[in-house]
């Protein structure tokens, strides 16, 4: 690792699906001589891209887990994280961005800014990550880097500026013109590894001049000296331009746009130069921690290597040799053998093996200075934990963890799979905060939840491959509730007086709906005057009612929102008991429940669908078909966000439907909103199904 912290870069490669992130990363590795041959995504040669080390990733041709690697480009050490583009793996993007200092936003020259680019851009903005843009696939038919640059401006509101002009486009793409140096650059050799710099071709001179003018206009906004040079028509020093652009990029006021074709090996090296020139080194970014000893006051971590160490565990992975914890060092130096403390639980631990990652390979190192991204072995922790020198008590601010949107029930096929499944679940939930699991107390099923169907699918598949845990997945159960819609009286006598010790109890009173906005599920009031029921048996009645509420008689779901008042009753000197009154209360509840017009409640989700405006009708339609109530629709030019309230039971499989009806361009998130009344047609179906299940069980 370089001794000079200003010669370090931590960057992410971010973009939507299929813009060629992984292909680009493969070229970067090659030009940095980290790998000696280029392999393609879904490689025909059977090797596959270096960064997609997971078997599943190679099969599906998508990146599932973000992979970290370290390269050296022109004397600079660069940590690169290749992130997945698919929304289901959004946590991978979130945590990568949490620890990165800068990013390369990759865009497709044909597709331009797509809805997922907008999602990625929003994530970058959330973490305030400075970026440069790379317009990939400029060799494709219909390629238009200028259009993409305009879209960055219009759709993402970025102050984008072309730094290059293409030499030929589509299949004629030969190279690029650098507008700072005003030179033509060609990429020769089998893999575009040898760079040839020449004069700008005569035919492109006018275009280059015009574009340079535009670039200078944009840049001169940030420096008066450049403006003066332009007015006086004197030559602008190259260094001054670089310096000005760098400042503007780091302040997130400017996004320089580069172009090329990673697949055709064109333009990648120039983009790498731009990473060094314009993206921030660790000290250029202000990182903050919270001082837990001082009322969570914000403390700036100045990337100073002489201070005690502070690091953030941002990603866990189960490696061949045990748990691997990826950390970003923010201050001081993390050394092999030194002692650190996990701030969350106060546990001290010794740094054992310290490694630098290269996809799934690693190299051992003895220390990692501030600004570096490395991995530790054998540390017990959760992602998001802060590690500090034992005399500090600082906590890094956490990353954004979205709520799970979909769940599935799973069941092991046999006893041996059961243990393996538990092991796998334990592992996955630690690795991925968006993957959750719990046992539903009502159905006793193991439920896993996550960000989307693909997300859960991948984990089920991994369970099978990595843990040999075969599971049967089922449709998840919706947590229904029962409630009453009107008040009803009860007057119930429980009597059993045939020989031996008898049982006798009578309770009378009212059952009524409890309207407290669902905050309180049950209330009990004793309105008895004159001791019709002795005080000692009052709690028995209360208990009996509560027992009755555990299972409603419509579909066996718990009953909520009921107020029970007892006004009268009767007891027997010998035959009344706690048990008799509990039984009587239970019977009284059931009697009144039938008269109180019981209803079924279902969870209603707040669903937010985002997609291009052209698919708006399809989005409205799919929501409407699902008993959804469209609350609002927000149009922002070509992009719209639709908000709706939809019953959870209707949302299963929605991601697939939405993708197919919007060409994969819309995405949705959902969260629990409230319990709502099930319409009568659905109620009948549910009751019928419940009756059938009950009969089947009795047989």
């Amino acid at each position: 690792m370089s001794a000079d912290i200003t010669k370090m870069r931590n960057i992410g490669i971010s973009a939507h699906i299929d813009s060629g992130k992984t292909t680009l990363t493969e070229r970067i590795l090659f030009y940095c001589q980290k790998i000696h041959a280029i392999h393609e995504v879904r490689g025909k040669d059977g090797v596959g891209a270096t960064m997609d080390s997971m078997e599943l990733e190679r099969e599906r041709g998508i990146t599932i887990a973000s992979a970290a690697t370290n390269v050296n480009w022109k004397g600079h050490d660069i940590n690169i994280i290749d992130t997945p583009g698919h929304v289901d793996f959004t946590i991978e993007v979130e945590r990568a961005l949490r620890v990165l200092d800068g990013a390369v936003l990759v865009l497709c020259s044909v597709g331009g800014v797509q809805s997922q680019s907008i999602t990625v851009d929003r994530q970058l903005k959330r973490y305030g990550v400075p970026r440069i843009a790379f317009v990939n696939k400029s060799d494709r038919t219909g390629a238009n880097p200028y259009k993409v640059c305009d879209q960055l401006r219009e759709k993402l509101n970025l102050n984008s500026v072309m730094m290059q002009v293409p030499i030929g486009l589509e299949e004629k793409l030969e190279g690029v013109i650098d507008l700072v140096r005003m030179k033509a650059i060609y990429f020769d050799g089998h893999d575009g590894e040898s760079i040839r710099i020449e004069e700008i071709p005569e035919a492109l001179k006018a275009e280059a001049d015009e574009r340079r003018e535009m670039m200078l206009d944009a840049v001169s906004m940030f420096n008066e000296e450049i403006m003066e040079h332009m007015m006086e028509e004197t030559e602008i020093p190259e260094e001054l331009l670089h310096e000005t652009i760098r400042k503007a990029v780091i302040a997130q006021d400017l996004v320089p746009v580069y172009l090329g074709s990673a697949y055709k090996n064109k333009g990648v090296q120039e983009m790498m130069d731009a990473v060094l020139r314009y993206l921030p080194a660790p000290p250029d970014v202000e990182n903050k921690a919270l001082d837990l000893d001082n009322d969570e006051a914000e403390v700036v971590l100045p990337s100073d290597r002489s201070k005690p160490p502070v690091a953030l565990a941002f990603k866990l992975e189960d490696g061949q040799y045990g748990q691997l914890t990826y950390i970003r060092v923010y201050q001081g130096i993390v050394k092999k053998g030194s002692e650190l403390i996990n701030v969350r639980n106060g546990r001290k631990f010794k740094v054992g093996r310290l490694v630098r990652m290269h996809s799934n390979n690693m190299e051992d190192i003895v220390e990692a200075p501030a600004g570096d991204i490395v991995a530790l072995f054998g540390i017990e922790c959760a992602s998001g934990d802060t590690f500090c020198s034992p005399d500090l008590n600082l906590s890094m601010t956490s990353m954004f963890v979205p709520n799970a949107v979909i769940s599935l029930s799973i069941r092991p096929v046999d006893k041996s799979a059961s243990d393996k499944m538990a092991k796998a679940l334990n592992r996955f939930t630690k690795e991925d905060p968006t993957f959750r699991t719990h046992v539903d107390p009502e159905s006793n099923e193991t439920i896993v939840s996550g960000m989307g169907e693909l997300h859960l699918e991948v984990y089920i598949e991994r369970m099978k491959r990595e843990y040999q845990a075969e599971v049967i997945t089922g449709a998840p159960q919706v947590a229904y509730r029962e409630a009453i819609s009107q008040a009803a009286d009860f007057n119930y006598t429980h009597k059993k007086q045939t020989g031996g010790s008898g049982q006798y109890a009578r309770v009378a009173g009212t059952m009524e709906p409890l309207d407290t906005n669902g905050e309180k599920d049950y209330e009990f009031e004793n309105k008895i005057k004159g001791g019709a029921i002795p005080t000692e048996y009052i709690p028995s009645c209360d208990k009996g009612f509560q027992a009755a509420m555990l299972k409603g008689s419509l579909i066996g779901a718990p009953v909520v929102g009921v107020k029970m008042s007892i006004t009268d009753g009767q007891f027997h000197a010998v035959d009344s008991s706690d048990q008799a009154f509990q039984t009587a209360a239970l019977g009284a509840f059931r009697e009144a429940y039938k008269k109180a017009k019981p209803i079924i409640l279902e969870p209603i989700m707040k669903v937010s669908v985002e997609g291009p405006t052209e698919f708006q009708g399809n989005i409205f339609g799919t929501l409407n078909q699902r008993r959804g109530m469209i609350v609002a629709s927000n149009d922002e030019g070509n992009y719209s966000v639709v908000e709706a309230e939809v019953p959870l039971s209707e949302m299963f499989g929605y991601s697939t439907v939405l993708r197919s009806s919007t060409q994969g361009k819309a995405e949705f998130t959902m969260e629990f909103a409230k319990y709502g009344r099930v319409p009568s047609s659905v109620t009948e179906d549910l009751i019928k199904k419940y009756e059938e299940e009950r009969k089947a069980q009795q047989k």
Binding site: G617, F620, G621, V631, D635
Partner: protein
């Protein structure tokens, strides 16, 4: 009071009487006034009245965040149901909100044709049976006569009522000598009903300035209650 009785006694019935039996399908109405007088409340009251009569409404907003508008609807509904002690208010509320959709546009850069395409998509796929569209915050100084024509054609084609608000800044008189709000003069042929709202000492008065074919100048026996911002009879 039950829902039906409530709508029959609504002061909006007198508004309808005043404008020759109501705005009518395929027509545009505009309520114009200076800023902050209560146009949005007025429009929301009109929309709520329609919802209470089991009609479907799309509320198009150019200016506000959606939550803000939802709150307007909640407030107006609560005021109406309290004032008239509406029976089963919760159930009525739950029923009617299903028939209301709020659409929000940033007027910057979204042409009228695109707004109408979005509204049409909503009417075809999400809110079938829309009777009325409320358009709040549309800037008539930016909107051209052709834009208004597009709205008018849309109203005719879809057989719906369109209710707009037209807002004025500052203290200057916003009406011409006939009483027509200045922004509306260019497209007056396509606008059937024009109402203005002006502040009197203790309340706001609704005035009719265009009633279908004729230009009039008639103070309606309607005012806006300053506390609840509900339309009430004088």
């Amino acid at each position: 009071m039950v829902k039906k009785e409530l709508t029959e006694k609504s002061p909006l019935r007198s508004l309808e009487k005043a404008v020759n039996g109501g705005l009518g399908k395929g027509n545009i109405a505009v309520i114009a006034s200076k800023q902050g007088i209560g146009k949005t409340a007025c429009l929301v009251h009109i929309a709520t009245d329609k919802l209470m009569r089991n009609k479907h409404v799309i509320h198009v907003s150019y200016a506000n965040k959606v939550d803000h508008i939802v709150n307007w609807y909640e407030d107006i509904f609560t005021e109406i149901s309290k004032k008239r002690s509406l029976e089963g208010a919760m159930d009525v509320h739950n029923d009617i909100i299903h028939n209301r959709v709020i659409m929000n546009f940033s007027q910057k850069g979204i042409p009228v044709s695109q707004v109408l395409a979005s509204v049409k998509a909503m009417m075809d796929n999400g809110q079938v049976g829309t009777d009325a569209i409320i358009i709040d915050g549309f800037d008539f100084t930016i909107g051209t006569a052709e834009d208004i024509k597009k709205f008018k054609d849309f109203a005719l084609e879809e057989q719906i009522e369109l209710w707009f608000s037209d807002s004025y800044k500052g203290e200057e008189n916003f009406q011409d000598e006939r009483g027509i709000p200045k922004n509306l003069v260019k497209a007056l042929d396509d606008i059937s009903v024009v109402l203005t709202l002006r502040a009197e000492q203790n309340y706001m008065v609704l005035k009719l300035v265009k009633d279908h074919k004729s230009i009039v100048s008639e103070d309606l026996q309607l005012k806006l209650d300053p506390k609840t911002l509900l339309i009430a009879e004088v």
